[in-house]
Subunit: 158 residues, 2 copies
């Protein structure tokens, strides 16, 4: 009963080339012509039918940003490397390693690396979850009506 019933390895190491973890598929975000995201990689570190949550690692290159989106499911984020800003609802905040960020349901959010520095973070999410919604043109205009959010979206946070 105390033997390891999981196929695959119990302990996995970060790759020597510093591009992420061994034996974990590195998934580049595709580029988006609307500019809703750019230069992000994603790795699912833990996912198992016996785990109700999933833990993913995102790395945003300098000047890159994750998708501006919202959804029913929550995000729980731990900043691990680098520096940047995030938008959560109407709040724009500088973020750095060890910061904890909670993204509640149906809340617009985006994570942006600094211009000269990447941003790496872990994100806990429910294994079963709904698909993200992207903003309509009208919703994007409503967000940009807030000058702090407009500055964030243009890559020039206060």
């Amino acid at each position: 009963m105390d033997d390891n019933p999981t196929p695959g390895r119990t302990i996995r190491r970060h790759a020597a080339d510093d591009r992420g973890w061994d034996e974990v598929e590195l998934r580049p975000y595709k580029e988006d012509e609307r500019g809703l995201f750019r230069s992000v990689t994603r790795q699912v570190l833990f996912s198992d039918p016996r785990l109700a949550g999933e833990l993913r690692y995102f790395e945003v290159a300098a000047g890159g940003f994750t998708s501006l989106e919202r959804h029913e499911h929550m995000h729980a984020v731990v900043i691990l490397d680098g520096r940047g800003h995030c938008l959560v609802g109407r709040e724009v905040a500088a973020i750095e390693p060890t910061d904890l960020v909670t993204v509640p349901p149906w809340t617009w959010h985006q994570f942006r690396a600094g211009r000269g520095v990447p941003l790496g973070f872990l994100c806990l999410v429910n294994a079963e979850r709904d698909r993200p919604q992207l903003p309509t043109g009208q919703e994007l205009a409503a967000l940009r009506a807030d000058s702090a959010i407009a500055a964030f979206l243009s890559g020039d946070p206060d």
Copy 2:
């Protein structure tokens, strides 16, 4: 719909005194007379009824160790700071930052800091889960029959 419906703060910072995160209760493990754990603190970083998983941060002082236990639910662990060894099933391994450790169901496990260095790690767990079992004297003797496990449990891993 995009306002923040969560009471409490969206972004939380690590405390300046380096004892953990602000506004997150720091829970010392109690000491155990059987020596099954020692010198560990625990912080639940993310827990919400809308999250099926929970993310906790454990810090094991130099020479300390977490409870030797097993249970139905899984653990998914990311080593963040320091150095040490872990036991998972019958495997003893050195662990260091960025290592990923999977603890399958019903698998004996323990995390030990080095003698002169603490060990900090994140642990993803299902929000709903069963209570851990501690080993009986007989089960402990069976584990110690393996010389590598005996060395690990005595704080002298190979």
